[in-house]
């Protein structure tokens, strides 16, 4: 029986749900000390002086550092040269939350008390806390070397003026894609121990080798004695692939004071110091005919990079513009983007990273076309879909060569669950009844780019390479250990990889362990991001397992005096096809694989051990069709999601339970962006949503039940056929929700509402329409 496709319970869960997980903060090596930051309370200011005397005098304080103590050190890796963030602010601070000083003390309470005693004298400068302010003429400049606040501008190759002039109809939207704070349950945490045998850094991170390589390079120390360990990691959402000053500071301070140094970010710090996501503004125009067929699309993305642009953040508008056309055949597409710095927290990848922004805009435009032409939104989608027989499909972007998809199929499947005609009748009825809540139905046929990626793709973001490693090691008793360079942090990869390996190896699922996260144990690795763990890493597990299995068969054939081609396996027993009575168990094959005298000619001991650096030829393209039904309270403006129908196409499903979990979580984050979350700043750059009282992360009780369906279009770029599903929900949900809200209000002439759709925004619209 195949395990791939089965609803197998997670191997990870017994530990995690009984509180026996081990996170970095749980580690408490002997002599462990604690580091605490003093963070800027100013958005933009010169530092006149920092008085550390009182803090240093506090008993238990071991060190207090400002930029003066590390003047010779390079800035934090990952940034753009000349615009990168210092480990501690030098002379000037550029966002609220930027590190200004650190204290190390024997415990965290003393460190926090000492941090309170540090007096920073700021000379405030004017701040720019929004894109419009940063781009206004005469705006204060964050980085002198830029001469302005635009980091990079990519103009249209061809602005499609003729196509737009000739089109029967055109429409435009200005869209603000709201800034979000990733907010994993576990904030940034690290623990450094730099002793005689080298540097070990335990870090809540998604790509430990990436960090190991970088930190060794940064300090000019050899990688063999630099070890990074990401144990259990409590969520990342992309925020934990960024290099942050604490990694380098704890390491250096550990070396300096000769003790382990731990840093655990507080929740308040996490909201301003962990890198944010989204923060784009779009100017989008479409040209179309009277039947709703799209003739041309034009999109300018303005990306808020926050105070210090980084490689990942710079990649966001590239991904957004690459996916601008969604799942539609659009004859002409023009893209342009601009990266701008502001006095806000730096921006980087956040679940979906650039693709939710793309799908939101194109799906809003589709509904706008429906609204303008009177053609039903479902029909507008159908008329413009890339047909099933058009793959591989070259888009306007060299990055996005769509290799597969069945967009109409997903929509058909969705409509089997949604009683669309009834809902439309109900909507009309309620519009006539002033006491009834308004009803809205919103669709999103979304598509994203995932499975990062083909050679060169992750290198562009500063990674070593784009493969993922898998090592399959058979133990003498016939159990297997798999080492993976993908570093899971909640995905359930330990379970899915064991399923894949169990099928390939014929070894019982319960006798397969998966190890990850430790650079001293795992072969080179890349990490978990961009929905790549199964599409790339899982494929590697399959390849390596297959190689091991071939060798195991040769050993079994030798022991059975048969030919390897005739050997099959069942219940962990190898036998010649047709003669199950004479068999040799996996345990014996494994045992003998280590004994030279038992091996077939030409085979060396250790043959049941294979390491693969799995490459894939293309990205993957998960897609789906979602429908959201909302009710709007006419008196309060409150929006309530009544139903959420979700059809995903992530290709082959390894474990439906985990796919559903990823979809549920991704959709929750999508709904959060659509209705709740918005990291807001006042004009002076002070965060207005600096606690969970104001930055509203929804809880389970605020989310609807989901009705899920699925179609399977296998991924042609790997043999598993899996496309990845980690980010899907966050790509598909926001446009479905907002389309539903706009649909509910469309009879009032509403064309668009920016996220998050709050009760007061809706109430203002309803009042305005009176």
């Amino acid at each position: 029986m195949s395990l791939v496709g089965a609803r197998v319970l997670r191997k990870e869960d017994p530990n995690l749900i009984t509180g026996n997980g081990q996170y970095v903060d749980d580690l408490q090596p002997a002599g462990c000390t604690s580091m605490v930051f003093v963070r800027s309370t100013e958005a933009h200011a010169k530092i006149r002086s920092i008085d550390t005397a009182e803090a240093l005098a506090l008993p238990g304080v071991l060190a207090v550092w400002t930029s003066a103590n590390i003047a010779q050190l390079a800035n934090c890796p990952g940034g753009l040269p000349g615009l990168d963030q210092p480990l501690l602010a030098k002379d000037i601070v550029r966002f609220v939350g930027e590190g200004v000083a650190v204290v190390v003390a024997t415990d965290r309470y003393i460190a926090a008390d000492a941090a309170e005693l540090i007096i920073v004298d700021y000379e405030p400068l004017p701040a720019v806390a929004s894109l419009s302010a940063a781009m206004a003429p005469g705006a204060v400049v964050l980085h002198e070397v830029l001469g302005g606040n635009t980091v990079h501008f990519q103009d249209f190759e061809n602005p499609l003026n003729e196509a737009f002039a000739a089109a029967p109809r055109t429409a435009s939207l200005h869209i603000v894609n709201n800034r979000c704070a990733p907010s994993p349950i576990e904030p940034n945490v690290c623990l450094a121990d730099w002793g005689r045998s080298g540097l070990t850094l335990w870090a809540a991170f998604q790509a430990p080798h990436h960090l190991r390589n970088t930190i060794a390079q940064y300090f000019g120390i050899p990688q063999d004695s630099t070890r990074v360990v990401a144990p259990d990691v409590g969520g990342g959402f992309g925020a934990k692939i960024n290099f942050v000053p604490e990694f380098f500071l704890t390491a250096l301070l550990s070396k300096e004071i000769g003790k382990p140094v731990k840093y655990t970010q507080t929740r308040s710090e996490c909201l301003v110091a962990m890198l944010h996501g989204r923060a784009q503004e779009h100017d989008a125009s479409v040209a179309f005919d009277n039947d709703g067929r799209i003739l041309a699309l034009k999109l300018t993305v303005t990306q808020d990079q926050g105070a210090y642009p980084n490689g990942t953040g710079m990649g966001l508008p590239v991904l957004t513009t690459a996916m601008a056309a969604g799942c539609y055949r659009i004859p002409a597409v023009a893209i342009s983007w601009r990266n701008v710095v502001t006095n806000t927290t730096p921006v980087a990848a956040y679940r979906g990273a650039g693709r939710p922004e793309a799908s939101f805009t194109i799906e809003r435009l589709i509904d706008l076309i429906a609204d303008e032409t009177g053609v039903d939104p479902v029909e507008v989608r159908r008329r413009n879909f890339i047909p099933v027989d058009a793959f591989p499909y070259a888009t306007h972007s060299p990055l996005a060569m769509y290799d597969s998809g069945n967009f109409a199929g997903a929509l058909d499947e969705l409509l089997k669950h949604v009683n669309y005609d009834e809902l439309k009748k109900e909507q009309e009825k309620r519009r006539q009844d002033p006491a009834a809540k308004l009803l809205g139905i919103g669709f999103a046929s979304w598509l994203e780019i995932a499975g990062f990626g083909p050679p060169g793709s992750l290198e562009a973001f500063g990674h070593l390479a784009s493969w993922e490693s898998a090592q399959v090691r058979i133990q003498p008793d016939g159990s297997a250990i798999i080492f993976t360079g993908a570093s899971p942090h909640g995905q359930g990869t330990v379970t899915t990889y064991a399923q894949i390996a169990a099928d390939e190896l014929g070894i019982d699922f319960d006798r397969i362990s998966v190890k990850h996260g430790d650079t001293a144990v795992v072969p080179q690795g890349i990490g978990t991001m961009g929905s790549r763990a199964v599409a790339v890493g899982g494929e590697g597990v399959k390849t390596a397992s297959g190689r091991v299995y071939e060798n195991a068969k040769r050993i079994a054939a030798h022991l059975l005096e048969a030919s390897a081609e005739d050997i099959i396996i069942e219940d962990e027993k190898f036998f010649v096809k047709g003669t199950p009575a004479r068999s040799v168990p996996w345990s014996e094959v494994a045992w003998k694989s280590f004994q030279p005298l038992e091996l077939p000619g030409g085979m060396e001991p250790g043959a049941l051990d294979s390491t693969v650096f799995q490459q894939v030829p293309n990205f993957s393209f998960p897609s789906g069709a979602y429908c959201c039904v909302v009710e709007i309270d006419r008196e309060t403006g409150g929006v309530n999601i009544v139903n959420m129908y979700l059809v995903d196409d992530c290709g082959t499903v390894i474990n439906p339970l985990l796919v559903e979990g990823q979809v549920h979580g991704g959709v929750a984050q999508g709904i959060a962006q659509a209705l709740y979350e918005h990291m807001l700043y006042d004009p002076s750059g002070v965060p207005r949503t600096s606690t969970f009282m104001d930055y509203l992360v929804p809880a389970a009780s605020d989310l609807p039940g989901y009705i899920t369906g699925r179609i399977n279009t296998p991924n042609p770029s790997n043999t598993l056929g899996a496309k990845g599903v980690g980010e899907s929900g966050s790509v598909g949900a926001p446009p479905a929700v907002v389309n539903a809200v706009v649909d509910a209000l469309s009879h009032l002439g509403v064309k668009h509402i920016d996220m998050p759709v709050t009760p007061i925004k809706v109430w203002n619209i309803l009042e305005g329409a009176k």
Partner: protein
């Protein structure tokens, strides 16, 4: 998110608490459920030198019937009030409101006394105390004194509890078999109200508003109008009298006053059923 240093002492009785309050002076704070105090300490918005833990004073955790009153000890947890048959029977509004506070974790720790003394205009239980016409029983070195809920709330996070005093009980007049309703408008289920309305009908009606003023707010004119049997439209016309609603990310003054009207109307519809 890391509180400043503080000392910790445990009070074993009301008298002991009063003695400890006198001993430690202004720098001391009583610790009940900690669900308002500890968040403020973690943000270092308050930095008491000493916490006097009163949660071990068993004599302050009770719900009992006393003639025409239901008396609730100040240290009774929200959860116990929510589940009490006595409260459900005679003060269904209070039982319901206790069940609307935060989430189950909060309700299992937080105490009614802590909620009332904290004096947060956005909190739920103060509104229930105002609408039902409760009386606070406060103990100090000179014995016990009583004060109406209306006079108890003084300003933002400020009540009539004086230095050296402890709230020991709340006396609620029974509202058996009378109509009631609580309307809480929130964006997330666990949140404090953007606006809330607590309505008690019957012989001694009252309507109180949540997050509509600098302190928990009894809508005096509206309560009087209800008492005189005024039509709902007339009640709504005065519901925002004397309010002073805050402006924040969730609401403007205008929107809050609108919500107060909408929620009062809904409360009436529910309470009159």
């Amino acid at each position: 998110m890391i509180p400043a240093q503080f000392d910790y002492v445990e009070a074993t009785s009301v008298a002991d608490a009063i003695r400890l309050l006198a001993e430690h002076g202004d720098e001391a704070k009583l610790l009940a459920g900690g669900h308002s105090l500890i968040p403020l300490m973690k943000l270092r918005l308050v930095t008491p030198a000493t916490l006097i833990d009163v949660t071990h004073i068993k004599e302050l955790s009770y719900i009992k019937e006393d003639g025409n009153n239901i008396v609730i000890g100040a240290l009774t947890r929200h959860r116990d009030i929510e589940e009490s048959d006595l409260v459900k029977k005679h003060l269904p509004l209070v039982a319901h409101v206790a069940g609307e506070v935060g989430d189950p974790q909060v309700r299992n720790r937080g105490t009614i006394g802590g909620s009332l003394v904290h004096g947060d205009p956005a909190a739920d239980l103060p509104a229930a105390a105002l609408a039902t016409g409760a009386t606070m029983v406060i103990a100090g070195k000179n014995g016990e004194r009583r004060i109406s809920a209306q006079d108890f709330f003084v300003d933002f996070l400020e009540t009539d509890v004086q230095p050296g005093e402890i709230l020991v009980a709340i006396e609620f007049p029974k509202h058996t078999d009378a109509g009631w309703a609580y309307e809480k408008f929130v964006r997330r289920a666990m949140d404090y109200s953007i606006v809330g309305v607590a309505l008690q009908l019957g012989a001694k009606p009252g309507v109180a508003l949540v997050n509509m003023s600098n302190k928990p707010h009894l809508a005096v004119s509206a309560s009087q109008a209800i008492g005189k049997g005024a039509a709902i439209a007339d009640v709504l016309a005065v519901i925002n009298d004397d309010t002073n609603p805050p402006e924040d990310l969730n609401a403007t003054v205008e929107y809050r006053q609108h919500l107060a009207r909408v929620l009062t109307q809904r409360a009436f519809a529910t309470a009159s059923k």
